[in-house]
Symmetry: C2
Subunit: 235 residues, 2 copies
Protein backbone atom coordinates (compact mmCIF):
# COMPACT_ATOMS: atom_id res chain seq x y z
CA UNK A 1 0.00 0.00 0.00
CA UNK A 2 1.23 3.54 -0.75
CA UNK A 3 1.78 5.75 2.29
CA UNK A 4 1.20 9.49 2.32
CA UNK A 5 3.15 11.49 4.89
CA UNK A 6 0.97 14.49 5.69
CA UNK A 7 -0.26 16.96 8.29
CA UNK A 8 -4.07 17.19 8.64
CA UNK A 9 -4.27 20.97 8.30
CA UNK A 10 -1.65 21.39 5.57
CA UNK A 11 -3.18 22.55 2.26
CA UNK A 12 -0.49 20.80 0.23
CA UNK A 13 -1.08 17.49 1.98
CA UNK A 14 -4.82 17.91 1.55
CA UNK A 15 -4.47 18.50 -2.18
CA UNK A 16 -2.70 15.16 -2.64
CA UNK A 17 -5.14 13.32 -0.36
CA UNK A 18 -8.00 14.60 -2.49
CA UNK A 19 -6.19 13.83 -5.74
CA UNK A 20 -5.45 10.25 -4.72
CA UNK A 21 -8.99 9.70 -3.45
CA UNK A 22 -10.59 11.19 -6.57
CA UNK A 23 -8.53 8.86 -8.72
CA UNK A 24 -9.19 5.86 -6.48
CA UNK A 25 -5.60 5.25 -5.46
CA UNK A 26 -5.53 3.45 -2.14
CA UNK A 27 -3.17 4.79 0.50
CA UNK A 28 -2.47 4.95 4.21
CA UNK A 29 -1.73 8.13 6.10
CA UNK A 30 1.28 8.87 8.28
CA UNK A 31 1.33 12.14 10.21
CA UNK A 32 4.27 14.53 10.37
CA UNK A 33 4.32 17.90 12.14
CA UNK A 34 5.80 20.42 9.71
CA UNK A 35 7.22 22.67 12.44
CA UNK A 36 9.36 19.86 13.88
CA UNK A 37 12.61 19.19 12.09
CA UNK A 38 12.36 15.43 12.33
CA UNK A 39 15.63 13.87 11.13
CA UNK A 40 14.06 10.76 9.62
CA UNK A 41 11.69 12.93 7.62
CA UNK A 42 14.44 15.29 6.46
CA UNK A 43 16.46 12.29 5.29
CA UNK A 44 13.56 11.49 2.94
CA UNK A 45 12.94 15.08 1.91
CA UNK A 46 15.69 17.58 2.73
CA UNK A 47 13.43 20.52 1.83
CA UNK A 48 11.32 19.63 4.88
CA UNK A 49 8.11 20.12 2.92
CA UNK A 50 4.97 18.05 2.98
CA UNK A 51 3.56 15.85 1.58
CA UNK A 52 5.67 12.80 0.78
CA UNK A 53 4.33 9.78 -1.06
CA UNK A 54 6.05 6.52 -0.17
CA UNK A 55 5.18 4.24 -3.07
CA UNK A 56 4.40 0.63 -2.24
CA UNK A 57 7.20 -0.37 -4.65
CA UNK A 58 9.80 1.60 -2.69
CA UNK A 59 10.56 5.00 -4.22
CA UNK A 60 9.61 8.13 -2.29
CA UNK A 61 8.13 11.13 -4.11
CA UNK A 62 8.46 14.57 -2.53
CA UNK A 63 6.16 17.53 -2.91
CA UNK A 64 2.90 18.38 -4.63
CA UNK A 65 4.45 19.03 -8.02
CA UNK A 66 6.35 15.74 -8.30
CA UNK A 67 3.51 13.67 -6.83
CA UNK A 68 0.64 15.16 -8.83
CA UNK A 69 2.41 14.85 -12.17
CA UNK A 70 3.57 11.31 -11.34
CA UNK A 71 0.01 10.26 -10.55
CA UNK A 72 -1.24 11.77 -13.80
CA UNK A 73 1.46 9.99 -15.81
CA UNK A 74 0.63 6.73 -14.04
CA UNK A 75 -3.00 7.07 -15.06
CA UNK A 76 -2.28 8.05 -18.63
CA UNK A 77 0.18 5.19 -19.08
CA UNK A 78 -2.34 2.74 -17.66
CA UNK A 79 -4.99 4.11 -20.00
CA UNK A 80 -2.65 3.85 -22.99
CA UNK A 81 -1.92 0.21 -22.20
CA UNK A 82 -5.58 -0.70 -21.81
CA UNK A 83 -7.31 1.10 -24.65
CA UNK A 84 -10.68 -0.05 -23.30
CA UNK A 85 -10.41 2.57 -20.58
CA UNK A 86 -11.45 5.40 -22.85
CA UNK A 87 -13.18 7.49 -20.25
CA UNK A 88 -10.25 7.44 -17.86
CA UNK A 89 -10.44 10.20 -15.29
CA UNK A 90 -7.55 12.57 -14.95
CA UNK A 91 -7.24 15.72 -12.89
CA UNK A 92 -5.28 17.35 -15.72
CA UNK A 93 -8.02 17.12 -18.36
CA UNK A 94 -8.14 18.46 -21.88
CA UNK A 95 -5.69 19.20 -24.64
CA UNK A 96 -2.24 20.69 -24.07
CA UNK A 97 -3.47 24.27 -23.90
CA UNK A 98 -6.31 23.34 -21.53
CA UNK A 99 -3.86 21.44 -19.33
CA UNK A 100 -1.62 24.53 -19.26
CA UNK A 101 -4.60 26.46 -17.87
CA UNK A 102 -5.08 23.82 -15.15
CA UNK A 103 -1.39 24.18 -14.26
CA UNK A 104 -1.50 27.99 -14.25
CA UNK A 105 -4.29 27.83 -11.66
CA UNK A 106 -2.68 25.05 -9.63
CA UNK A 107 0.37 27.32 -9.40
CA UNK A 108 -1.86 30.26 -8.42
CA UNK A 109 -3.51 28.51 -5.50
CA UNK A 110 -0.51 26.42 -4.44
CA UNK A 111 1.93 29.31 -4.34
CA UNK A 112 0.21 32.69 -4.63
CA UNK A 113 -2.77 32.07 -2.38
CA UNK A 114 -0.58 30.16 0.04
CA UNK A 115 1.93 33.02 0.26
CA UNK A 116 -0.72 35.73 0.49
CA UNK A 117 -3.37 34.09 2.67
CA UNK A 118 -3.09 30.56 4.03
CA UNK A 119 0.58 30.72 5.00
CA UNK A 120 0.02 33.78 7.20
CA UNK A 121 -3.12 32.38 8.82
CA UNK A 122 -1.58 28.98 9.48
CA UNK A 123 1.52 30.55 10.94
CA UNK A 124 -0.27 33.01 13.19
CA UNK A 125 -3.14 30.78 14.28
CA UNK A 126 -1.68 27.25 14.25
CA UNK A 127 2.09 26.85 13.98
CA UNK A 128 3.03 29.68 16.34
CA UNK A 129 0.77 28.15 18.99
CA UNK A 130 2.66 24.86 18.74
CA UNK A 131 6.11 26.39 18.32
CA UNK A 132 5.89 29.16 20.89
CA UNK A 133 3.27 27.48 23.07
CA UNK A 134 0.95 30.43 22.54
CA UNK A 135 3.37 32.75 24.35
CA UNK A 136 2.98 35.48 21.75
CA UNK A 137 -0.36 36.81 20.51
CA UNK A 138 -0.97 36.58 16.74
CA UNK A 139 0.50 39.40 14.65
CA UNK A 140 -2.64 41.44 13.93
CA UNK A 141 -1.02 43.14 10.96
CA UNK A 142 -0.32 39.76 9.32
CA UNK A 143 -3.89 38.60 10.00
CA UNK A 144 -5.30 41.82 8.57
CA UNK A 145 -3.23 41.43 5.39
CA UNK A 146 -4.23 37.77 5.01
CA UNK A 147 -7.92 38.63 5.37
CA UNK A 148 -7.70 41.40 2.81
CA UNK A 149 -5.81 39.15 0.37
CA UNK A 150 -8.36 36.40 0.91
CA UNK A 151 -11.11 38.65 -0.45
CA UNK A 152 -9.09 39.06 -3.62
CA UNK A 153 -8.68 35.29 -4.03
CA UNK A 154 -12.38 34.71 -3.31
CA UNK A 155 -13.22 37.27 -6.02
CA UNK A 156 -10.93 35.47 -8.41
CA UNK A 157 -12.64 32.13 -7.73
CA UNK A 158 -16.03 33.80 -8.20
CA UNK A 159 -14.83 35.36 -11.45
CA UNK A 160 -13.62 32.01 -12.80
CA UNK A 161 -16.74 30.05 -11.92
CA UNK A 162 -18.83 32.88 -13.35
CA UNK A 163 -17.35 32.00 -16.75
CA UNK A 164 -16.75 28.28 -16.44
CA UNK A 165 -18.24 25.16 -14.94
CA UNK A 166 -15.08 24.50 -12.90
CA UNK A 167 -12.10 26.74 -12.19
CA UNK A 168 -9.99 25.76 -15.19
CA UNK A 169 -12.70 24.75 -17.67
CA UNK A 170 -15.67 22.45 -18.13
CA UNK A 171 -14.17 19.58 -16.13
CA UNK A 172 -13.16 19.35 -12.50
CA UNK A 173 -9.35 19.45 -12.27
CA UNK A 174 -6.43 19.61 -9.89
CA UNK A 175 -6.92 23.41 -9.92
CA UNK A 176 -10.26 22.94 -8.13
CA UNK A 177 -8.64 20.51 -5.72
CA UNK A 178 -5.80 22.92 -4.96
CA UNK A 179 -8.09 25.91 -4.40
CA UNK A 180 -10.46 23.83 -2.24
CA UNK A 181 -7.54 22.48 -0.20
CA UNK A 182 -6.39 26.01 0.60
CA UNK A 183 -9.92 27.19 1.35
CA UNK A 184 -10.70 24.18 3.55
CA UNK A 185 -7.78 25.09 5.84
CA UNK A 186 -8.84 28.73 5.92
CA UNK A 187 -12.40 27.60 6.66
CA UNK A 188 -11.19 25.37 9.51
CA UNK A 189 -9.79 28.55 11.05
CA UNK A 190 -13.18 30.25 10.62
CA UNK A 191 -11.80 32.89 8.27
CA UNK A 192 -13.84 32.55 5.06
CA UNK A 193 -16.39 35.36 4.44
CA UNK A 194 -18.83 32.99 2.69
CA UNK A 195 -21.78 35.38 2.92
CA UNK A 196 -20.22 37.91 0.53
CA UNK A 197 -19.06 35.38 -2.05
CA UNK A 198 -22.15 33.38 -2.98
CA UNK A 199 -20.77 32.05 -6.31
CA UNK A 200 -17.53 30.88 -4.74
CA UNK A 201 -19.57 29.25 -1.99
CA UNK A 202 -21.67 27.32 -4.50
CA UNK A 203 -18.53 26.08 -6.22
CA UNK A 204 -16.99 25.07 -2.87
CA UNK A 205 -20.13 23.29 -1.72
CA UNK A 206 -20.02 21.17 -4.90
CA UNK A 207 -16.47 20.04 -4.26
CA UNK A 208 -16.98 19.73 -0.51
CA UNK A 209 -19.82 17.25 -1.15
CA UNK A 210 -17.59 14.82 -2.99
CA UNK A 211 -16.79 11.51 -1.27
CA UNK A 212 -13.06 12.36 -1.50
CA UNK A 213 -13.63 15.27 0.91
CA UNK A 214 -15.37 13.27 3.60
CA UNK A 215 -12.47 11.96 5.64
CA UNK A 216 -10.64 15.25 5.43
CA UNK A 217 -13.52 17.13 7.04
CA UNK A 218 -13.48 14.87 10.10
CA UNK A 219 -9.80 15.55 10.88
CA UNK A 220 -9.10 17.69 13.91
CA UNK A 221 -5.91 19.23 15.25
CA UNK A 222 -5.21 19.61 18.96
CA UNK A 223 -6.10 22.96 20.45
CA UNK A 224 -8.15 24.36 17.57
CA UNK A 225 -11.72 23.33 16.81
CA UNK A 226 -13.27 24.37 13.48
CA UNK A 227 -16.44 26.50 13.36
CA UNK A 228 -19.80 24.70 13.42
CA UNK A 229 -20.49 24.99 9.68
CA UNK A 230 -17.09 23.47 8.75
CA UNK A 231 -18.29 19.91 8.29
CA UNK A 232 -21.77 20.87 7.17
CA UNK A 233 -22.38 20.16 3.47
CA UNK A 234 -25.24 22.65 3.44
CA UNK A 235 -23.38 25.50 5.14
CA UNK B 1 6.84 32.71 -34.25
CA UNK B 2 6.32 32.15 -30.53
CA UNK B 3 7.00 35.18 -28.33
CA UNK B 4 8.39 34.98 -24.81
CA UNK B 5 7.57 37.87 -22.49
CA UNK B 6 10.50 38.08 -20.07
CA UNK B 7 12.82 40.25 -18.02
CA UNK B 8 16.55 39.74 -18.67
CA UNK B 9 17.52 39.26 -15.02
CA UNK B 10 14.51 37.17 -13.96
CA UNK B 11 15.48 33.57 -13.09
CA UNK B 12 12.07 32.24 -14.13
CA UNK B 13 12.27 33.91 -17.52
CA UNK B 14 15.82 32.64 -17.94
CA UNK B 15 14.78 29.07 -17.21
CA UNK B 16 12.25 29.12 -20.04
CA UNK B 17 14.65 30.83 -22.45
CA UNK B 18 17.17 28.07 -21.78
CA UNK B 19 14.55 25.33 -22.04
CA UNK B 20 13.27 26.60 -25.40
CA UNK B 21 16.78 27.06 -26.75
CA UNK B 22 17.94 23.61 -25.59
CA UNK B 23 14.96 22.04 -27.34
CA UNK B 24 15.42 24.15 -30.45
CA UNK B 25 12.11 25.97 -30.26
CA UNK B 26 12.39 29.27 -32.10
CA UNK B 27 11.06 32.34 -30.34
CA UNK B 28 11.27 36.11 -30.12
CA UNK B 29 11.72 38.03 -26.89
CA UNK B 30 9.53 40.82 -25.56
CA UNK B 31 10.66 42.63 -22.40
CA UNK B 32 8.45 43.37 -19.42
CA UNK B 33 9.55 45.01 -16.18
CA UNK B 34 8.16 42.91 -13.33
CA UNK B 35 7.93 45.84 -10.88
CA UNK B 36 5.61 47.80 -13.19
CA UNK B 37 1.97 46.81 -13.06
CA UNK B 38 1.42 47.10 -16.78
CA UNK B 39 -2.30 46.72 -17.54
CA UNK B 40 -1.84 44.96 -20.87
CA UNK B 41 0.43 42.42 -19.24
CA UNK B 42 -1.92 41.85 -16.30
CA UNK B 43 -4.77 41.25 -18.72
CA UNK B 44 -2.75 38.33 -20.09
CA UNK B 45 -1.56 37.09 -16.70
CA UNK B 46 -3.41 38.44 -13.66
CA UNK B 47 -0.81 36.98 -11.29
CA UNK B 48 1.67 39.48 -12.71
CA UNK B 49 4.38 36.84 -12.91
CA UNK B 50 6.91 36.26 -15.64
CA UNK B 51 7.41 34.63 -18.06
CA UNK B 52 4.55 34.40 -20.54
CA UNK B 53 4.73 32.38 -23.73
CA UNK B 54 2.56 33.73 -26.54
CA UNK B 55 2.22 30.79 -28.88
CA UNK B 56 2.33 31.50 -32.61
CA UNK B 57 -1.11 29.83 -32.87
CA UNK B 58 -2.69 32.27 -30.42
CA UNK B 59 -2.96 30.86 -26.89
CA UNK B 60 -0.93 32.43 -24.11
CA UNK B 61 0.74 30.25 -21.47
CA UNK B 62 1.57 31.76 -18.09
CA UNK B 63 4.33 30.81 -15.71
CA UNK B 64 7.22 28.36 -15.58
CA UNK B 65 5.11 25.37 -14.52
CA UNK B 66 2.51 25.63 -17.29
CA UNK B 67 5.07 26.48 -19.98
CA UNK B 68 7.68 23.84 -19.12
CA UNK B 69 5.16 20.99 -18.94
CA UNK B 70 3.46 22.17 -22.14
CA UNK B 71 6.77 22.15 -23.99
CA UNK B 72 7.56 18.66 -22.73
CA UNK B 73 4.14 17.35 -23.79
CA UNK B 74 4.59 18.98 -27.19
CA UNK B 75 7.89 17.16 -27.68
CA UNK B 76 6.61 13.81 -26.46
CA UNK B 77 3.53 14.00 -28.67
CA UNK B 78 5.67 14.88 -31.67
CA UNK B 79 7.96 11.96 -30.87
CA UNK B 80 5.00 9.59 -30.49
CA UNK B 81 3.64 10.61 -33.87
CA UNK B 82 6.97 10.14 -35.60
CA UNK B 83 8.36 6.93 -34.13
CA UNK B 84 11.59 7.50 -36.07
CA UNK B 85 12.58 10.17 -33.58
CA UNK B 86 13.73 7.69 -30.96
CA UNK B 87 16.46 9.81 -29.49
CA UNK B 88 14.18 12.79 -28.92
CA UNK B 89 15.57 15.19 -26.32
CA UNK B 90 13.46 16.11 -23.35
CA UNK B 91 14.34 18.10 -20.27
CA UNK B 92 12.22 15.71 -18.16
CA UNK B 93 14.17 12.54 -18.95
CA UNK B 94 13.78 9.05 -17.59
CA UNK B 95 10.98 6.90 -16.23
CA UNK B 96 8.19 8.20 -14.01
CA UNK B 97 10.21 7.99 -10.81
CA UNK B 98 13.22 9.68 -12.42
CA UNK B 99 10.97 12.41 -13.78
CA UNK B 100 9.57 12.91 -10.26
CA UNK B 101 13.14 13.53 -9.09
CA UNK B 102 13.60 16.15 -11.84
CA UNK B 103 10.41 17.85 -10.67
CA UNK B 104 11.37 17.73 -6.99
CA UNK B 105 14.56 19.62 -7.83
CA UNK B 106 12.86 22.04 -10.23
CA UNK B 107 10.55 22.89 -7.33
CA UNK B 108 13.55 23.25 -5.00
CA UNK B 109 15.38 25.78 -7.16
CA UNK B 110 12.30 27.54 -8.55
CA UNK B 111 10.67 28.13 -5.17
CA UNK B 112 12.98 27.35 -2.26
CA UNK B 113 16.18 28.89 -3.60
CA UNK B 114 14.23 31.79 -5.02
CA UNK B 115 12.54 32.50 -1.68
CA UNK B 116 15.73 32.06 0.35
CA UNK B 117 18.35 33.61 -1.91
CA UNK B 118 17.59 35.10 -5.31
CA UNK B 119 14.38 36.88 -4.33
CA UNK B 120 16.10 38.82 -1.54
CA UNK B 121 19.13 39.70 -3.66
CA UNK B 122 17.04 40.78 -6.64
CA UNK B 123 14.79 42.87 -4.44
CA UNK B 124 17.56 44.59 -2.53
CA UNK B 125 20.02 45.06 -5.37
CA UNK B 126 17.82 45.46 -8.47
CA UNK B 127 14.11 46.05 -7.99
CA UNK B 128 14.40 48.49 -5.09
CA UNK B 129 16.80 50.60 -7.17
CA UNK B 130 14.19 50.86 -9.93
CA UNK B 131 11.18 51.20 -7.65
CA UNK B 132 12.59 53.58 -5.08
CA UNK B 133 15.17 55.15 -7.38
CA UNK B 134 17.91 54.02 -5.03
CA UNK B 135 16.58 56.29 -2.27
CA UNK B 136 17.00 53.61 0.37
CA UNK B 137 20.17 51.59 0.93
CA UNK B 138 19.84 47.80 0.68
CA UNK B 139 18.64 46.02 3.82
CA UNK B 140 21.90 44.56 5.11
CA UNK B 141 20.06 41.98 7.21
CA UNK B 142 18.27 40.62 4.13
CA UNK B 143 21.53 40.53 2.18
CA UNK B 144 23.28 38.72 5.02
CA UNK B 145 20.51 36.09 5.21
CA UNK B 146 20.53 35.59 1.42
CA UNK B 147 24.30 35.09 1.42
CA UNK B 148 24.14 32.57 4.22
CA UNK B 149 21.30 30.69 2.54
CA UNK B 150 23.20 30.72 -0.74
CA UNK B 151 26.03 28.72 0.85
CA UNK B 152 23.47 26.05 1.79
CA UNK B 153 22.14 25.85 -1.77
CA UNK B 154 25.68 25.74 -3.19
CA UNK B 155 26.43 22.84 -0.82
CA UNK B 156 23.32 21.05 -1.99
CA UNK B 157 24.34 21.43 -5.64
CA UNK B 158 27.83 20.17 -4.78
CA UNK B 159 26.29 17.23 -2.90
CA UNK B 160 24.08 16.28 -5.86
CA UNK B 161 26.82 16.50 -8.51
CA UNK B 162 29.09 14.53 -6.19
CA UNK B 163 26.72 11.60 -6.62
CA UNK B 164 25.37 12.12 -10.12
CA UNK B 165 26.43 13.32 -13.54
CA UNK B 166 23.76 16.05 -13.51
CA UNK B 167 21.58 17.35 -10.66
CA UNK B 168 18.69 14.92 -11.07
CA UNK B 169 20.47 11.94 -12.59
CA UNK B 170 22.65 10.89 -15.50
CA UNK B 171 21.05 13.24 -18.01
CA UNK B 172 20.85 17.01 -18.08
CA UNK B 173 17.33 18.10 -17.13
CA UNK B 174 15.13 21.08 -16.38
CA UNK B 175 16.44 20.84 -12.79
CA UNK B 176 19.91 21.84 -14.05
CA UNK B 177 18.37 24.61 -16.10
CA UNK B 178 16.41 25.94 -13.14
CA UNK B 179 19.37 25.88 -10.75
CA UNK B 180 21.63 27.50 -13.37
CA UNK B 181 19.02 30.18 -14.07
CA UNK B 182 18.92 31.14 -10.40
CA UNK B 183 22.70 31.03 -10.07
CA UNK B 184 23.26 33.07 -13.23
CA UNK B 185 21.23 35.95 -11.75
CA UNK B 186 23.06 35.68 -8.44
CA UNK B 187 26.35 35.63 -10.37
CA UNK B 188 25.34 38.74 -12.34
CA UNK B 189 25.09 40.47 -8.96
CA UNK B 190 28.58 39.22 -8.06
CA UNK B 191 27.33 37.19 -5.12
CA UNK B 192 28.46 33.60 -5.83
CA UNK B 193 31.39 32.36 -3.67
CA UNK B 194 32.77 30.17 -6.47
CA UNK B 195 36.15 29.66 -4.84
CA UNK B 196 34.70 27.61 -1.96
CA UNK B 197 32.43 25.42 -4.10
CA UNK B 198 34.69 23.88 -6.70
CA UNK B 199 32.34 20.98 -7.61
CA UNK B 200 29.35 23.26 -8.05
CA UNK B 201 31.54 25.54 -10.15
CA UNK B 202 32.53 22.67 -12.46
CA UNK B 203 28.88 21.73 -12.91
CA UNK B 204 27.96 25.37 -13.62
CA UNK B 205 30.79 25.83 -16.11
CA UNK B 206 29.49 22.81 -18.06
CA UNK B 207 26.02 24.28 -18.37
CA UNK B 208 27.28 27.83 -18.88
CA UNK B 209 29.27 26.62 -21.91
CA UNK B 210 26.19 25.40 -23.74
CA UNK B 211 25.06 27.36 -26.81
CA UNK B 212 21.67 27.95 -25.13
CA UNK B 213 23.42 30.09 -22.49
CA UNK B 214 25.23 32.36 -24.90
CA UNK B 215 22.64 35.05 -25.58
CA UNK B 216 21.60 35.18 -21.94
CA UNK B 217 25.13 36.04 -20.82
CA UNK B 218 25.27 39.08 -23.09
CA UNK B 219 22.11 40.65 -21.61
CA UNK B 220 22.63 43.70 -19.45
CA UNK B 221 20.26 45.68 -17.28
CA UNK B 222 20.51 49.44 -16.81
CA UNK B 223 22.46 50.61 -13.79
CA UNK B 224 24.06 47.29 -12.84
CA UNK B 225 27.04 45.77 -14.63
CA UNK B 226 27.99 42.15 -13.89
CA UNK B 227 31.44 41.27 -12.54
CA UNK B 228 34.22 40.60 -15.04
CA UNK B 229 34.11 36.81 -14.82
CA UNK B 230 30.32 36.71 -15.50
CA UNK B 231 30.55 36.10 -19.24
CA UNK B 232 33.82 34.20 -19.06
CA UNK B 233 33.39 30.46 -19.79
CA UNK B 234 36.67 29.73 -18.03
CA UNK B 235 35.95 31.73 -14.86
Amino acid sequence: MHKLVHFPLCPRSRSIRLLLSELEFEYDLEEEKPWQWNEAFLALNPSGELPLLKLAEGPVLAGVYAISEFVDEEIRTGAAQEPDIQGVRTMFPGNRVERAEVRRLVDWFLHKMDAEVTGYLMHEKVYSVYIEGGANPPDTEALRAARENLRYHMSYIAHLVGEREWLAGDKMSFADIMAASQLSCVDYLGEVPWETFEDAKLWYSRIKSRPSFRRLLTDRIAGAAPPEHYEDLDF
